[in-house]
Amino acid sequence: MSNTEYFEKRFQQRIDADERIEPRDWMPDSYRKTLIRQMSQHAHSEVVGMLPEGNWITRAPSLKRKLALLAKVQDEAGHGLYLYAATETLGIDREELLDQLHTGQAKYSSIFNYPTLNWADIGAIGWLVDGAAIMNQIPLCRCSFGPYARAMVRICKEESFHQRQGFEIMMTLCNGTKEQKAMAQDALNRWWWPSLMMFGPSDKDSTHSAQSMKWKIKRFTNDELRQRFVDITVPQADILGIRVPDPDLKYNSETQQYKFGPIDWDEFWRVVHGDGPCNKERLEARIKAHEKGKWVRDAAMAYAEKKSRQNTQIKVA
């Protein structure tokens, strides 16, 4: 057995025994690469995810809603930071991660390439998009890579308020005027299918799934999580009194699951490959924010360097 084979075998044994892998432990290069790809994509999603909602902070209908939305968007910045920091433990720089986002080399969740057209969309995002994110993220709290799992524990704790505030917005609209209820229904119509797509391609088309399951980066398949999301969310729509836009949706009392209609995978791949309603706008906003912030980063660094020079001079004197 070669050295690498021995290390790989020992690595898999540790995973099988449910041990956590820490940054300085030996790991296969492919495990490191997979994590960098997935974790950075996750971090980018948090950061880009601020854009569709940021649009509504100044347009929130009341001070209470505005405070909640501000706090939610601030959380997302924080989540991006936890995840970038955790990704950096794998030996890649923050600058390089951002560069991959800005050059289009790295992806972020396609859901953020859809526009937020009115206030009901903020409710739908909190309820559906954060709901789907939580469904994906809870199993990640037990991910085999320690820093990722720890970041996810914090994120999941904070995110449950995001989903509840979204549902409350929907609830308020649904209990309001006819027009307000129609807004809620319209938002559900537009966000339902993209939310189901958030779980990624169907298991039979998912390239990374099998290996990620073996490494315990993933604990459930895309289709399993998507099914669970549908089963949990449809009864919530019933409580709101609005309908999920799926003519094929049917409850199977034997399996106690909802059977749902086909997902438009052409649309999914189109948006993933850059041709969604807002891909260009989101990336441009990101790059602009980064470039316009450059003088602030430089000034802070120059100030820090000057201070540290002064301190050395004082010590020498």
């Binding site: 706090a71 433990t89 030996g91 720089d93 923050r94 600058e95 100030y303």
Partner: protein
């Protein structure tokens, strides 16, 4: 930096990159430790970038204590931490395994001896 990353960089696969320009003066990495309430020790919670220690404290406050998670913060630049090597784990920690006599339960005393 892992081997594959160096290879990738050498192979120049990063297009339209602004890396060389950004790399010269980047904010260093800090490790953050939070005391959640008085009487408890500071505990490592994660890391972040900042231009100087003062800014690291401010950023740590925003990133790690938005929900009253702490009453005190320590930050230290990551490069100043010396860590044990994971490969030395057996050498360092195995010797403690067979030292059962370091634990109170190793010693047999009659049941009617009290307060000991």
């Amino acid at each position: 930096m892992p081997q594959w990353l160096m290879q990738k960089k050498r192979a120049g696969r990063i297009h339209k990159s602004k890396l060389p320009e950004m790399e010269k003066r980047k904010w260093p990495l800090y490790e953050v430790f939070i005391r959640s309430k008085s009487g408890l020790n500071h505990k490592h919670v994660g890391s972040l970038h900042a231009a100087d220690p003062h800014m690291a404290i401010q950023n740590a406050r925003d990133v790690y204590t938005r929900r009253q998670e702490g009453i005190s913060i320590w930050v230290v630049e990551s490069k100043f931490i010396t860590a044990s090597n994971p490969e030395d784990q057996d050498m360092l920690f195995d010797p403690a395994i067979d030292k059962v006599y370091r634990h109170p339960t190793f010693y047999n005393l009659p049941d009617d001896v009290k307060h000991i």
